[in-house]
């Protein structure tokens, strides 16, 4: 597999030269392989949003470099737009950004800016709508006729229609109920599987990250504090708790069992895995 995203000594300071100067990113060096499903975790103010805005050139690093597919995205600033099509960014509460008269026009906006043919645009709109589970008869409705969850899915479809190689979503499930959350996460996983796309999912929900992501990046005070496979990261219950981050409840339960001297595996990510682990241990005589 090849590397799709690399940052080298990436740093960014907000309000430089004022009393409010604040290093939002401090020497970030990460490398992400193509096809990775990366969970990005950190407190509010840890630099998560600043980092993702660097990956498609919405922000320009104060120092350091960002590479997408091996190319320095700021090598020629006039060509930065190409990277905005390659790296699709879904902001928080994207439903507030719908602006067209119909859902179809709204989803078409990105592909049209890419200069695709009308035929190609029409096909992509249908496909994106299908991916997010919006029925075709919704396409001619006004976005204002949709429910909150449907609006959000329409907004995500607008980014998917550009078929980005890297799809970044900033808390796409914020404010949704469990059913709506499952819907959106399932659609993202489907996009990941169907196109082999790289996904970066910014989330406060450790349970969701544990279920979907294969890698996790933890941001803390502008630093990349931890980066590794999901299993490696969630095993570090103590360190994460010290940073004020939560680990999935199931990981905490297993840490509690380990503390009781029960030889449970250290890294359990889902309830299904946990159940299997307990049953297996009991069968093997429980190590008692």
């Amino acid at each position: 597999m090849s590397e799709i995203i690399r940052t080298e000594h990436l740093s960014y300071v907000y309000s430089a030269g004022t009393p409010f100067e604040n290093a939002a990113l401090d020497d970030i060096n990460i490398s992400v392989e193509e096809g990775t499903f990366l969970g990005l975790i950190g407190h509010t103010g840890s630099g998560k949003s600043t980092l993702i805005q660097h990956l498609n050139g919405l922000l320009k690093p104060d120092s350091g470099k960002v590479y997408i597919g091996g190319e320095d995205i700021w090598a020629d600033p006039k060509k930065i737009r190409r990277f905005r099509f390659k790296v699709g960014l879904v902001f928080q509460y994207p439903e507030y950004q719908l602006f067209e008269e119909t859902v179809r026009k709204d989803i078409s906006f990105g592909p049209r800016n890419m200069g695709l043919s009308e035929e190609e645009i029409a096909g992509r709109v249908l496909e994106a709508a299908e991916l997010v589970g919006l029925p075709e008869n919704y396409l001619d409705k006004s976005p204002f006729e949709l429910s909150g969850g449907e609006k959000r899915r329409a907004a995500i479809a607008g980014v998917l229609a550009m078929r980005p190689e890297v799809l970044i979503l900033d808390e796409p499930t914020a404010g949704l109920d469990p059913r709506g959350r499952e819907h959106i996460l399932g659609e993202i996983a489907e996009y990941h599987d169907r196109y082999g796309a790289t996904i970066i999912l910014v989330s406060h929900s450790m349970e969701d990250v544990a279920r979907f992501a294969d890698h996790v990046l933890i941001m803390d005070h502008g630093h990349a504090a931890m980066y590794g496979t999901t299993r490696e990261i969630f095993r570090r219950v103590g360190e994460l708790t010290e940073m004020g981050l939560e680990v999935p409840q199931i990981s905490r339960i297993f840490a509690g069992l380990a503390a009781r001297g029960i030889p449970v595996p250290e890294s359990v990510l889902t309830v299904g895995e946990a159940k299997e682990a307990v049953l297996r241990l009991l069968r093997e005589g429980g190590g008692v």
Partner: protein, 288 residues
Amino acid sequence: MPKKRFIEAENISYAYPSYDGMIPPLVLDGVSMSICEGEIVAVLGHNGSGKSTLAKHFNSILIPTSGKVTVDGMDTASEEKLYEIRQEVGMVFQNPDNQIVATVVEEDVAFALENLGVPPKEIRERVNDALKKVGMYEYREHAPYQLSGGQKQRVAIAGIIAMRPKCVVLDEPTAMLDPKGRKEVMSTIRQLNEEFGITVVLITHYMDEAAECGRVVVIDDGKILLDNTPKEVFSQVDLLRRHGLDVPQAAELCHELRLSGLDVPEGVLTERECVEAIAALFGKGASA
């Protein structure tokens, strides 16, 4: 000690007005429940279940299409009681940014009191008192835009409790907050109930928040599905899932293990209880 019933809903149904001549669907369908003085009750349900519609009946924002709601003995359909009802039952909504009207925190908290014609000296006292109760007194001279989401939501709560209500109804007050903000707001809400004796109705789809309340009412399809202690409610894992709700991972794991034929007690709710239950299987329970 039998507690005094404060809010009573008797067989209420509600349909939003129809604009297209069609018969509108019932959003609430024969709901009966009562809330006693000093209770803290969670109303749990997914989007579209009718939980917010129910909440809006508790301070006369909506009046039932059929059936009757009384607040402290006053019929919510009676117009001359409207102001009295709204002073006794305050509402807090989801988005903190939509509820803050002033440019200085303490002025925002004073807003309702000014409208009610409370004497200035008393306004001062009540504002200080309310801000202290939510832990935002130090921020009284800040501008709301400088605050975090959780802080803004606590200011919104202060604005309500400055009116000295007997009951506060909160409609998904943490849905737009990060984990830290959620914790701040939840501990404020519990404090209002435990220390200041304010009756609390918390509308939420977060199971962990519902688990912190004394009583959980689950609503789906406009009907009450369950109404019991958190322990009893969360032991109904299959039922909750069928209705699009989650259960805490601790409850889910114990449920799964019980289904596999293991001797795990019912009604496990917290992490600690789950660790105990599993440790007991390995002969390493608390007594061992």
